[in-house]
């Protein structure tokens, strides 16, 4: 395949950045998108120029590190996958492909396609945990039976990989899907209910501090989420938040 890549290049956070064009030839349809980027980088290095910086690690769709906005969509046109799982067979010979970083005020660009998602970590520091020590003397794991349905729902919420596609896809750069997945996971489990109120208030407060936008319920996040995290979680978080704010005062 022949392709024309239009890639966002930005030297560092203070650089203004611009789109650069790179023609590519002999792209195999079996390549993953990142392997195609590797090949391009090898070419750039052999020309003595700076390769394109992009985040990636596990390359099997679970670490959540890769983060490209491809042809106007987070993780590209395919569904239920991360950028590293996108394969070139999803494109046609002669296509022009735009590659941009995930954009949000909460995700400042570090270099080229690499962004800083530490805002997500800070939201988790605010309450993304159950306050239990690792004593080894906690009660037996089977002491509290948990309805399978709740356990499954908690699991579904917990599969979030924290990639930030929800923020990138949202027209308001809202982080509600991410935060609600975490809030839901814990609020669905008896272990997490104890401090559910404190958790949701603190996490939402931190989310707002990080400069993410509001949820307009467009549902774009759910569609682009590589793990299919459901909008139900956002509704659940709204509920939890309402309950907590009414009850805490």
């Amino acid at each position: 395949m022949k392709l024309i890549l239009k890639v966002w290049r930005q030297k560092n956070s203070s650089d203004k950045g611009r789109i650069e064009t790179y023609p590519m030839e002999n792209v195999s349809e079996h390549m993953s998108f990142l392997e195609m980027m590797d090949v391009l980088n090898e070419q750039l290095i052999s020309q003595g120029t700076d390769p394109i910086a992009f985040d990636h690690d596990c390359r099997e769709g679970i670490c959540g590190m890769c983060s490209m906005y491809i042809n106007g969509e987070a993780h590209g046109p395919d569904r239920g996958i991360t950028t590293c799982q996108l394969h070139m067979r999803k494109f046609n010979d002669g296509d022009t492909i735009y590659v941009e970083p995930f954009r949000a005020k909460g995700f400042p660009v570090i270099k080229d396609l690499t962004v800083d998602r530490s805002a997500f970590d800070r939201i988790q520091h605010a309450g993304g945990f159950i306050s239990v020590n690792t004593s080894g003397n906690t009660q037996d794991a089977n002491a509290i039976p948990i309805p399978k349905d709740d356990a499954d729902k908690a699991f579904d919420a917990a599969t979030c990989i924290g990639c930030g596609a929800c923020v990138a896809s949202c027209k308001n750069a809202s982080a509600m899907l991410f935060v609600s997945a975490k809030v839901s996971q814990f609020s669905l489990l008896p272990q997490g209910k104890v401090e559910a109120k404190r958790r949701v208030l603190n996490m939402v407060e931190q989310m707002d501090k990080e400069g993410f936008g509001n949820c307009t319920n467009t549902g774009a996040c759910e569609v682009e989420c590589p793990k299919g995290i459901s909008l139900e979680n956002i509704a659940r978080m709204n509920r939890e938040y309402l309950k907590a704010s009414v009850a805490s005062e």
Binding site: R59, D116, T134, A141, A158
Partner: protein
Amino acid sequence: MATLDSKIPAGPIKDKWTNHKNHINVVNPANKRSIDVIVVGTGLAGGSAAASLAELGYNVKAFCFQDSPRRAHSIAAQGGINAAKNYQNDGDSIYRLFYDTVKGGDYRAREANVYRLAEVSANIIDQCVAQGVPFARDYGGLLDNRSFGGVLVSRTFYAKGQTGQQLLLGAYSAMNRQIGMGKIKMYNRHEMLELVKVDGKARGIIARNMVTGEIQRHSAHAVVIASGGYGNVFYLSTNAMGSNVTAAWRIHKKGAYFANPCYTQIHPTCIPRSGDYQSKLTLMSESLRNDGRIWVPKNIEDVEAIRNGSKKPVELKEEERDYYLERRYPAFGNLVPRDVASRAAKERCDAGYGVNKTGEAVFLDFASAIMRYGSEKATVLGELNPTPERVRELGEKVIENKYGNLFQMYEKITDDNPYKTPMMIYPAVHYTMGGIWVDYNLMTTIPGCYAAGEANFSDHGANRLGASALMQGLADGYFVLPYTIGDYLANDIRTGKIPTDTPEFDEAEKSVTERLEKFVNNKGTKSVDHFHKRLGNVMWNKVGMARNEQGLKEAIAEIRQIREEFHKDVFVPGGMYEFNPELEKAARVEDFLELGELFATDALLRTESCGGHFREESRTEEGEAMRDDENFAYTAAWEWTGDPGKANLHKEELTFNEVELKQRSYK
């Protein structure tokens, strides 16, 4: 050759750990506040260690090269975590888990450590549930178990195919709590590049801020290395792209012995390579072998026809197929352990029967399972004379319920529909059992420097059983290290903060700066990946699934050659004080190039076959692996001397009092 003191406590094996905990030193809570601990790596071992140490009251500084601790490669583990809970009442016990692990490791692990691992395994599950890890449950609301990796009991806890992710997020949440309280200071996108020793003790590290390129000094009273395995020395592996040996190798070069580097696990069910551009390999859960049958064509003409597309695999009749595992191992069939299945695939492909363009793939076929499940299902539904199409349809549904996500993943990557055509699989490097040598307290041969999780060598011997890696990482981090580290730190309560403006830190920082400067100023012509791929090629072909003396000797020579060329001709674009992924890779590949030689040296020394290490010279008449307990029942711990080919060997003799050494057989 000096002997090593593994500090195994005296007494009967089942009391060793309890007695040890009762007798080691403990640091008073008030004093813990004035003690700093550095943890490098935030996977299951590092993350759980950092959180537990911070809970105890130590000041923890945690480092990871990823942009968040949650992204450590533990997250990719699929299958599950073992624990001797005996919830299923199928006769499981601490002893049985211990026994299975020692046997599975082909009798090359340290008994006392493995017993402790089995002992604390049950606590891990309690701990994780309390943290909110959503393990799979049955309709009664209790935890579900599955049987895994060919063991006879169901002791594996799981969270669909994402157990590693859920456990890591559990450890990460425990870290978050401590980060929020200021007890852990988290350094994301920081890479440890050197260990700092003061008076022979580990007292700090030199790290590089990967965003700004700033070289930083961090001091502490103890340093924990939990940086994972080194499978990426093969270039292609199921490890993450960033997984590296650097932290482990740096402490090795500062005096920590490296044990059994040649013990590598090659996992049989991975998606084959599709071309030269391949950057990594994807693992598919071992559970597929429960229902899939592995085969290649019997006739070489059919192989050719399949490769060039003139014949489809489904067109081959039963008698034209060679179900080689069922043929060679009638008792275990397709369920032989990982190492055996991997070698058998290689044997067929080396003989020319590989079924894809690269010649490195075999079929994993679900057709008969689909038909079997389909007719069972039809019976259940009361359909007496279903058509074959109907049986197939029903069977595909059953298979979809069991493996749907794996089949989908396969289809996304290969564009083949595994319900209709057999999957293609090939073995890939997956886990490294070898690692930094540690004593019973998980301390390396450098006082104050500890190694945990896959980074150490301790519990899996020569071959790791499925669902045991997660168990070991969390056991080390939650339940072993927090106790044993206190024994050492009790002597440090009056030390006070370790200053970083000392000659030792100056020296270490200078060496790091010079090393990196050399890379960016080396105006070579070839990229880092070029050398990494060449190294990987040598490792895979000569130090891979089957090894022999000649190949290993060649490998050592070739690796030295590549290393020389690398130093002369590597080109690293960009500068030192900026975000520069190529520079990061260069430093890691330099370490891999040294490790690779030690790896091959270790493999050359061990002329027996054991677990994941197969020496062609040491096999039975039928071609199966043959252990040599008389000469090799020891751990080979290598001491750095300045040249990886001339490392000093130290032996830790392995004694087995609780289990009887047996030759494994799967016939």
